[in-house]
């Protein structure tokens, strides 16, 4: 009985270690950084609730009134291509609490994305928007990479 429990634990531990290793180098994997990000997001309350939404949900609200999409990648990446209708916002301005995003109406639904959907950013962004009184913040799951992988339209500027 004791040896069975030990063996079960060994199998689970080996699976966890292998899983972490595989995900670390996998292009669509969940790296340690993202896993920790989800832990922070799940365990601590932020000023504003952030909803994590998949690509398909973003696609259905494209160009709808009351919805603004914010691209927080670098300006070069944004100019190369981005989600149609997205506005570029400097990530550093955002985290400092300054920039064009905060001049938007507070009741707007804001969909924010970065390159790979780095979950460690979500709490900081939620805090920044929460301080300014925004209520409806959405984070694109998997980021712009997911958008491209799903074969969605892009726009260049």
């Amino acid at each position: 009985m004791k040896s069975s429990i030990l063996r079960l634990l060994i199998i689970i531990l080996i699976s966890l270690i292998l899983g972490i290793i595989v995900n670390q180098w996998h292009p669509r994997g969940i790296g340690i950084k993202n896993l920790l990000g989800t832990f922070i997001l799940g365990s601590k309350k932020t000023e504003t609730m952030v909803y994590i939404i998949p690509v398909d949900s973003v696609f259905t609200v494209l160009n709808k009134p009351g919805v603004t999409i914010l691209d927080i990648r670098s300006l070069d990446d944004y100019q190369l291509d981005h989600i149609p209708g997205a506005i570029h916002v400097s990530r550093s301005d955002l985290l400092k609490g300054s920039g064009n995003a905060f001049s938007l109406p507070k009741d707007k639904k804001l969909i924010i994305y970065d390159q790979e959907g780095d979950m460690t950013q979500v709490k900081l962004i939620a805090q920044a928007f929460g301080r300014e009184g925004f209520q409806h913040i959405f984070w694109l799951f998997g980021g712009y990479v997911s958008w491209l992988e799903k074969g969605m339209d892009t726009e260049s500027r």
Partner: protein, 143 residues
């Protein structure tokens, strides 16, 4: 009788082992999509869903290999039963709550919705896992 049990157990091990390995390969292809599949069931939060997406594919692969090789068989069968029971509970609660989500059970990118057919498939595999558990106990007792 013992020989029949042995052959029956071998067949079930092969079926479940191969299914686990193929399923793991599909899930390895996109862990992020698998995490999203788990999230869609609206049972676990972000952390558990992501942790599940990391550990389940490798657990399926390891258990699949153990089932095929027969090494640590008793433990592999226990884990098989546990995995299928968890999958069943997830699928049943989604079906009862009327969640419009893709199953993602076998392949996370497969958009097949949860319906009676999907439930039956899952129940069949769970029954096989329980069958393997009972056969393994009977064989061990007779020895």
């Amino acid at each position: 009788m013992n020989k029949i049990f042995h052959h029956l157990l071998l067949i079930i091990r092969l079926i479940l082992g191969i299914i686990f390995i193929i399923s793991a390969i599909y899930k390895f292809s996109s862990p992020i999509d698998f995490a999203q599949s788990i999230l869609n069931y609206q049972v676990f939060g972000f952390f558990i869903s992501h942790l599940g997406a990391i550990i389940i594919p490798t657990l399926e692969a390891v258990v699949g290999i153990l089932l095929l090789t027969g090494f640590w068989l008793k433990e592999a069968i226990i884990l098989t039963v546990c995995l299928y029971v968890v999958f069943d509970v997830m699928v049943i609660q989604a079906y009862v709550r009327g969640l419009d989500v893709a199953c993602g059970c076998f392949n996370p990118t497969n958009q097949h919705p949860i319906d009676i057919q999907k439930l039956m498939e899952n129940f069949f595999l769970t029954a096989l896992a329980f069958g393997a558990f009972i056969l393994d106990r009977k064989i061990n007792r007779q020895q």
